[in-house]
Homo-oligomer: 305 residues x 2
């Protein structure tokens, strides 16, 4: 087996396992956690890939997301990768600037393949998540995970990852949803810093290839015709001045811009279920509260394939 098992336990009838492995996409060690529902003992089940947000590892959703409860209810495997190369186990690669800020470098790979030194090469999270990891999972868990039947979701930076990877690789991911995603990275500080750092400032065309709103405009609606499900907490402080209870005129920045996504979907006819959840923040308490709805959204699509 190409995988080293770090931990395993039972939860809600599921078998949860955490592995490390040598990644060809990043050239580093990578870690992920996979939840196999009890149904996988009777035959292969679809897999939902969950992409985490800034600073997180696979542990956050595993410990606080309660996806295992819904995985068992709907017969779906859940695969949660790390957020940057060799992050959770190795602490990063020691690149200059890698550990200086929470929103760039270590824990902040933004699910793209960097083209600028020193990130180009190891910071290849798009290749890892959209190609290497599904192939690895479907090989290593043959008979338990269905090959080629996959959904993708994520939170915040991971919501950006889910939307952009689903739009860029509709042949790989067949259903998509997101929790409080960074909807328009070209238009917010988190995204601008990442796109500038990983792709350079010269080529705004390259930025557009990793911005969900720009991808919708350039590529049109998803070919499979299924809706995007997006939940956004109304009291999420990363909505800046647009958050419930925010002080008007404070200048607090909206990093998430869900209305940009709504406009882009409307322009190209992409079905979107964008739900503003009053009173909810940006935390895993919010994610856990709506996880079952997301797993059901994916299960309903994937079990038909």
């Amino acid at each position: 087996m190409a995988l080293t098992r770090k931990a395993a336990w039972k939860m809600f009838g599921c078998t949860v396992q955490q592995f490390t492995h040598a990644s060809s996409a990043t050239g580093t060690q990578m870690r992920f956690t996979i939840t196999l529902p009890p149904q996988a003992a009777d035959g292969p089940v679809p897999a939902l890939y969950y992409l985490s947000g800034l600073t997180c590892t696979d542990d956050n959703v595993t410990q606080k997301g309660f996806a295992q409860h819904a995985a068992a209810k709907y017969g779906v495997a859940v695969v949660a990768p790390d957020t940057s190369p060799d992050h959770a186990e190795g602490g990063g690669l020691g690149l200059a600037g890698e550990g200086e800020s929470y929103d760039f470098g270590s824990g902040a790979g933004f699910y793209l393949d960097a083209t600028v030194a020193p990130w180009a090469g190891p910071y290849a999270m798009e290749s890892y998540v959209s190609a290497e990891l599904p192939a690895l999972v479907e090989e290593e868990f043959r008979g338990r995970v269905r090959p080629g039947v996959r959904g993708i979701t994520g939170h915040s930076m991971g919501g950006h990852g889910a939307l952009t990877l689903a739009l860029r690789h509709p042949e790989v991911f067949h259903s998509v949803s997101a929790f409080a995603p960074i909807c328009a990275p070209s238009a917010c500080p988190w995204g601008q810093k990442a796109l500038d750092g990983y792709l350079g400032s010269a080529d705004k065309g390259a930025w557009a290839e990793h911005d969900a709103c720009e991808l919708l405009r350039s590529r049109g609606a998803l070919p499979h015709g299924r809706a995007l499900l997006v939940d956004q907490g109304g009291a999420d402080s990363f909505l800046g001045e647009d958050a419930e209870g925010a002080a008007p005129g404070s200048g607090a920045v909206n990093q998430l811009l869900p209305e940009h996504l709504r406009a882009a979907c409307a322009e190209v006819g992409q079905p979107l279920e964008l739900r503003l959840q009053a009173g909810y923040d940006h935390s895993y308490f919010f994610i856990a509260s709506f996880m079952e709805d997301h797993v059901r959204h994916h299960a309903e699509a994937l079990h038909k394939l």
Copy 2:
């Protein structure tokens, strides 16, 4: 208000709030977290007190216990106190020996009133949990929490607390359950260390007053006639040599002794639903998996009162 609010958020439709307050029982600052389900907006709901295990604070169950999901489903408030005086916020009282071991002193109050110096006085977790805290909650959340209608549950050391406090105060707590409780503290190292340290070694009669099995024998079955619900993971390493997969002859100690509880209940006719859950460990992954069953057990009893 006698409470200082440290945090508040929304989860599964519930309002979750963490408070500190000056405790008369312990003479220190104490912290607890209360989950109010949406039903509390329409009138008072019963409260379930959740007692945590060694080293824990109210944060563990709040973040990993999944109780909010069941609280909203069954219309029950959940109150989670800390595990020793001034532990989570203050780090303890600075008593000699308080922070030296994980299983005694700070984070290990064992839900009794100590009688031995220097613990006698502040280490009064029984008075705090069975008298001061319910009165405080029912006063501060008047109209949302029903006075005098209470269940109690807990994990490991907190399971010991739930069983002993329910047996010692059946007029205070009207339903009881436990996750992997320390069933017979007089007969296991964790319990012997705590009972010796807090109550002294001279008076074994005092020990029996804080041992669920001994209390059943001395006081008989619970007067309200309702069953104890106890879940125990089969792969729980604290079952020692009795755990699934344990090496025979290793000498690993059973700290939990669920069969002692089964025997004591049988002797006195106390109804017991003791469920051995194959493959589950001692962690919050285990607790979360069966939390809904426990909240339902309490809700079914308490909503009838």
